[in-house]
Amino acid sequence: MATHTGGLTTATAAVRIRDLHRSFTDDRPVLSGLDLDIEPGEFVALLGRSGSGKSTLLRALAGLDQDASGTGDISVPEQVSVVFQDSRLLPWQRVLRNVVLGLEGPGAKARGKEALAEVGLAGRERAWPRELSGGEQQRVALARSLVREPELLLADEPFGALDALTRIKMHGLLRALYERHKPAVLLVTHDVDEAIVLADRVLVLDQGHVETERTIDLEGRRDPSDPHFAAIRTDLLAALGLAGGAEIRTEDKEAGA
C-alpha cells in the first residue's frame, strides 16, 4: 500500500483536484502541485509529452494508483467509468456478458443490449471478443463504460491502438455518445488533432502540472483544414515543445506512458 495523505472524497458532480503530488519509487516527482477542475458535462482533453504524468493523473482519478505515493485532494463523482487503451474485454465471456460485467438486477441485460446498439453493435451480443475487429472491441469497451451511466468518463488513449480510419469513425461515435449522455470526460491522448476535434478544453501537462490551457471555441463541425483549427494546433504544439507541426507524427507515436 502506498501512502496518500489528503483525501479521495466524492462530490456530487465534477472533478476537483488541489495540490496533487505523486511520485514512484525513484522519487522523481511525476505530478507536483497539480490543480484541476472539470465541470459537470465538460469534455476535457489532456496532452503531454511522454512521461509527463498524463496517465498518472488519470489513474489517480480512477483510484488505480496504489503503487504511487503522494499528497493532495481529489474529489470525483460517485459513478466513474474508465476506458483503457486496450479494450480489456474478458476473452472467455461473450460480448454482452462483458458489457454488463458486474451489473446486477433484471434490467441489466436489456440495458447492455441498448448500450451495444448505441455503439452500433446490435446483434453481436453472442460474439466472442476475439471475433471482433480492434475498433469493434473498443466500441464494446465504450458500451461497457456507458451502461453504468458515469458522471465522469476517464479515457486513457482509447484510440491509440487503432488505425487512422477507424480512429476518425470512433471520434464521431465518442462525440455523439458524449452529447447524448453528457458525462464529464477526461481524455488522455497524444494526438493533438484528436484533442482539438473532441474536447471543449485542452490542457497540456508539463513538469508535473497543467502548464497550458486552451478553450476550443470552434463553431460547428471541426475541420483540421480550418485556419482557426490550425492556429490552435500550432499553439498546442508549441506548448508541447515543438515549434512546427511537421515532426509531431513521429514524436507522438512514442508518447505512450
Binding site: A62, G63, L64, V80, S81, V82, F84, D86, R88, L90, P91, W92, Q93, R97, L101, G102, W128, P129, R130, R144, R148
Partner: protein, 287 residues
C-alpha cells in the same frame, strides 16, 4: 505520395496471374509456420502404426509368442475371459476405483488450488505440503498407506486420489496466478464484488490450466491403479495380470496391458472433447 497510390494497384491484380508466371510456389490458405491444419482423427495414427508393427511382426514370425503374444491370440484370450465371466467383474472393479479416485482427487486438488491461489495465507499453508507430496512418489507412500488404511478399497482410492491431486493442484494454481493483472484492474474500476470477480474473471481464466492438469490427472489415475492393483489386491485388471504372471500366461498379461492402454486413451479423449467444448473462446495452435 506516389508509392501509396501504386500499392493498391498491385494488390488488386488478379491472384492467378502470379501463379501462372510460376513464381508463387506457396499454395493459398496454408500457414507456413506452425504445425498446420489438424488431421482428422490424427491422434489415432500413432497407436495404429504401433498396432500394425505388432500384427506384421507376429505374422512374419519375427516376434516370439512366448515373449509377446500375437494380437489375434490376445483377442481370442480376451474373448474367452469375457465369455467365462472372468474379465467383466475385474474390469468393473478397476473402472470403479479409477472413477472414485479421480473424482476425489480432482475435488481435493481444485479446492486446495483455489484456497492457495486466491489468498496469500492459503498459499502459505497449502502450497508447501503439496510441493512436498509432489516429490514423494506414490509407490514410496504405499507401505504407510497400507498400514493406515489397510488393504481394502479405501486405501486404493486414497492412493489414486493422492496421485491425481498433484497435477490438478499445480496446473490450476498456475492458471489462477497467471491471469493478467490488467483484468484485476478492470474489475476494480467496475467495482466487481469479490464473488463476481472470482466467478467471472478468476475461475474462467484458470480453466485452461485446470484442463491441462486434468489430462495429467487421468493418466496418473490409471498409473496409480496399476500400482495398487498389483499390491495386495484380490480383484481388478492388475490382479488378473499378476496372477497370469505367476502362471506364465503372456496372453492374459497382454490383455491387461491393452485394456489399460485403451482405457487411458479413451479417458484422455473424453477430457479433450470436453476441453474443446468448454474453451471455445480460445483458439490456439492446436486448431
Amino acid at each position: 505520395m506516389t508509392a501509396v497510390e501504386t500499392e493498391p494497384a498491385r494488390a488488386s491484380a488478379p491472384p492467378h496471374d502470379e501463379a501462372a508466371s510460376g513464381r508463387a510456389s506457396r499454395p493459398r490458405g496454408k500457414r507456413r509456420l506452425g504445425p498446420g491444419k489438424a488431421i482428422p482423427f490424427g491422434y489415432l495414427i500413432g497407436p495404429l502404426l504401433l498396432l500394425g508393427v505388432w500384427v506384421w511382426g507376429s505374422a512374419q514370425g519375427w516376434i516370439d509368442p512366448r515373449i509377446l503374444t500375437a494380437p489375434w491370440t490376445v483377442v481370442e484370450t480376451a474373448w474367452n475371459l469375457w465369455e467365462t465371466g472372468r474379465l467383466g467383474p475385474d474390469l468393473l472393479v478397476s473402472a470403479r476405483r479409477f472413477a472414485l479416485g479421480l473424482t476425489f482427487g480432482v475435488l481435493a486438488g481444485l479446492v486446495l488450488a483455489i484456497v492457495s491461489g486466491l489468498s496469500r495465507w492459503g498459499e502459505a499453508v497449502v502450497d508447501g505440503p503439496v510441493q512436498i507430496k509432489r516429490s514423494i512418489p506414490n509407490l514410496a507412500l504405499l507401505p504407510l498407506l497400507l498400514l493406515w488404511f489397510g488393504i481394502d478399497e479405501r486405501m486404493k482410492i486414497i492412493t489414486i486420489a493422492l496421485g491425481v491431486l498433484i497435477p490438478i493442484y499445480i496446473h490450476t494454481h498456475n492458471g489462477l496466478r497467471s491471469i493478467d493483472g490488467r483484468y484485476a484492474e478492470l474489475s476494480e474500476t467496475l467495482r466487481l464484488r469479490p464473488a463476481s470477480f472470482v466467478g467471472r474473471v478468476v475461475l474462467p481464466g484458470a480453466l485452461p490450466g485446470f484442463f491441462l492438469g486434468m489430462r495429467f490427472a487421468v493418466t496418473s489415475s490409471w498409473l496409480s491403479l496399476v500400482v495398487v492393483e498389483q499390491v495386495n489386491a484380490t480383484s481388478g485388471i492388475g490382479y488378473m495380470m499378476l496372477l497370469a504372471g505367476t502362471y506364465g500366461q503372456t496372453d492374459v498379461i497382454i490383455v491387461g496391458l491393452v485394456l489399460y492402454a485403451l482405457l487411458g486413451l479413451i479417458s484422455d479423449t473424453i477430457v479433450r472433447v470436453i476441453q474443446r467444448r468448454v474453451l471455445t473462446w480460445r483458439r490456439t495452435l492446436e486448431d
